[in-house]
């Protein structure tokens, strides 16, 4: 009833193949973008922007990156944290080599390095599959982490062994460093995420995306039908790592301001993987939902006792948060193994047939 597509006739192929062929979807997307670009900047305070929205967007992008590899191309990877790190370190080196260049462009370029490294570590995927591949991607994770510590050139020989982001201006506006306003950083992050998400959505429904899905569903069959596994898998690794790399660079440039190698550890890889699986494998919207769930829920839980006027020791909250997050992950996997994206689908179906149950 609310979500009724009956009566929306397509008269051209373009209209039929549009990204959002249904009017309600277009309206919903417009509303979401309006909220993101207008309502949140008007209403949100600094804490909401810096500790909730910016990390959420960064993680969403990383989750989209991993989702391409794991959800669409079917290659399980536990190394996304390190690929994010490659992006961050590359962007850091680029800003110190080209101090006057537009830092947003540099962040976008840094993903290229990440893509290259990702493609190299994707080579074993031609022979190794499934969980075995997952464990081999750990080799990438640990090796790259070791490089971040052991190659001082990467962090400009800083005594602290960390990368610290200097102040940079774009068109006279401070965009990085401590003085950059949360709102500025939010707009940059939001714009990059929105653009990349739309690009990915279009790639996914095109020839490339379909060949990834063929490889995922059955690689031998795909090969017989003329999909080249080498190019397709490496392309998936490359594109996925590019997006992860950009997310990693944004993480340090627009959110954390400084990063140690441990910021890109295996924990981060797991965080991203959680988002992808809980959000829904093979779904762009799911990546956003998963990131929201994994990032925002603990923040919410931390403030929950305060909202009720109950005082709880800081570490007890932490313990309980761990337990609740763990339990909810299991719970969601049991109730809906296809992730939050599927719940969204079900919700849409309910709206379509409302007020009838079927």
């Amino acid at each position: 009833m609310f979500y009724r597509e009956a009566g929306q006739f397509k008269t051209t192929y373009e209209a039929d193949q549009a990204l959002f062929p249904i009017r309600q979807d277009r309206i919903a997307m417009g509303l979401i973008l309006a909220v993101a670009f207008v309502a949140i900047p008007l209403l949100a305070n600094d804490f909401f922007l810096t500790s909730i929205m910016i990390p959420f967007l960064v993680f969403s992008l990383a989750a989209i990156g991993l989702n391409i590899l794991t959800g669409f191309a079917g290659q399980l990877s536990l190394g996304s944290g390190a690929f994010m790190g490659v992006g961050a370190y590359a962007a850091y080196k680029l800003t110190s080599i080209f101090p006057d260049a537009n830092v947003i462009v540099l962040v976008l370029i840094s993903g290229v390095f990440s893509a290259g490294i990702g493609a190299i570590f994707g080579l074993p995927s031609l022979r190794i599959k499934g969980l075995y591949l997952a464990v081999t991607t750990l080799a990438a994770q640990f090796f790259l982490e070791w490089c971040f510590i052991r190659i001082p050139w990467l962090y400009n020989y800083n005594a602290s062994g960390a990368i610290e982001i200097p102040r940079r201006e774009v068109f006279g506006v401070i965009v990085t460093g401590a003085e950059a306003l949360p709102l500025t950083r939010y707009f940059i992050v939001l714009s990059i995420v929105v653009v990349i998400a739309f690009l990915v959505a279009n790639v996914i429904r095109g020839r490339i995306g379909r060949s990834w899905m063929m490889i995922r569903d059955m690689d031998i069959a795909a090969e017989l039908m003329g999909v080249r596994p080498l190019q397709t898998k490496l392309l998936a690794f490359g594109v996925s790592s590019y997006i992860c790399g950009v997310a990693g660079a944004m993480m340090v440039f627009f959110w954390l301001n400084a990063a140690e190698p441990s910021s890109y550890s295996i924990t981060l890889s797991f965080q991203i993987l959680f988002m992808v699986i809980l959000g829904g494998l093979g779904s762009i919207a799911g990546s956003f939902l998963g990131a929201a769930f994994i990032w925002i829920l603990p923040v919410f839980l931390r403030f929950l006792p305060g909202l009720f006027g109950v005082e709880v020791a800081a570490e007890s909250i932490q313990h309980v948060t761990f337990m609740i997050v763990g339990a909810l992950i299991i719970f969601f996997l049991i109730v809906e193994p296809h992730g939050l994206a599927r719940l969204w689908q079900i919700g849409k179906q309910k709206l379509r047939v409302w007020p009838f149950p079927y």
Binding site: I220, G326, A327, I330, P337
Partner: protein, 317 residues
Amino acid sequence: MLYDIFIDPFVQMGAQPDFLIQVLWEGFVSGILYALIALGFVLIFKASGVFNFAQGIMVVFAGLTLVGLHEQGVPAFLALILTIGVMGVLAYGIERVVMRPLVNQPDIILLMATIGLTYFLIGFGEFVFGGEPKRMITEELWLPTGSTAIEFGERGLVLLQHIDIAAAVIAVLMVSGLALFFNKTRIGRALRAVADDHQAALSVGISLNQIWAIVWFAAGIVALATGIMWGARSDVSFALEIVAFKALPVLILGGFTSVPGAIIGGLIIGFGEKLGEIYWGPLVGGGIESWLAYIIALIFLLFRPQGLFGERIIERV
């Protein structure tokens, strides 16, 4: 440069044979300990196809329960028995709450469920026992603590820790015990049947749920043994959970389903890693242990994609 890589390490080995023996011994001991963790993984993977990521936290949890009970004034051996009981309850709970509803889901979902379980156990363990590291009750469990020095030649000296010897003995006992259990008992045979084919096993009247509870329990006991041994080497703390990552290259090397594979894989990784770190590590600044095991495993894997002892992968379209 080539000399440094190909000749010098061997010259060093020859120059100090006692040291080489010590390195090999350390490699052997770490190999055994890695194998113990890997064993926990293999048991569960064999019977249920679940890649149990929670094995690491189970090690910590078992160790903490043991030490925590002892701190409450429970005698050491009673604490040991109670801990085994706790692991049994945990196994039953996991089977009931996590595994049973998730039957027949894809690998990755089951893997994620065990990661969720890891999170839960981290929070729960810290909530109950606190985050402080605890000292393993080595003496109270009648485990030896001293060391034996074997001297030979001029300056030759090899130090053997008694606890390491005990670890090796316990590992061997454990593996043989498990082998006996698998081969000679009714439950053991049922377990192998389940490992071979879930549906066939079900059709001849084997209860999948019961078998799964048993393998999780067995993995819990292996975790307890691992916890005691690792705990005695450093101490029992949540940082120990990370050690479980060490079992992964062992697993892919040995194959996910093979018990002897876990042992041999563990030894290869143990030896390879120690020799590599000591003799080749200094060339690149040391600390290569964290990834060397993975690279070793990766190289093996490129030649045998199913691991050394894994079942052959037959692909059909």
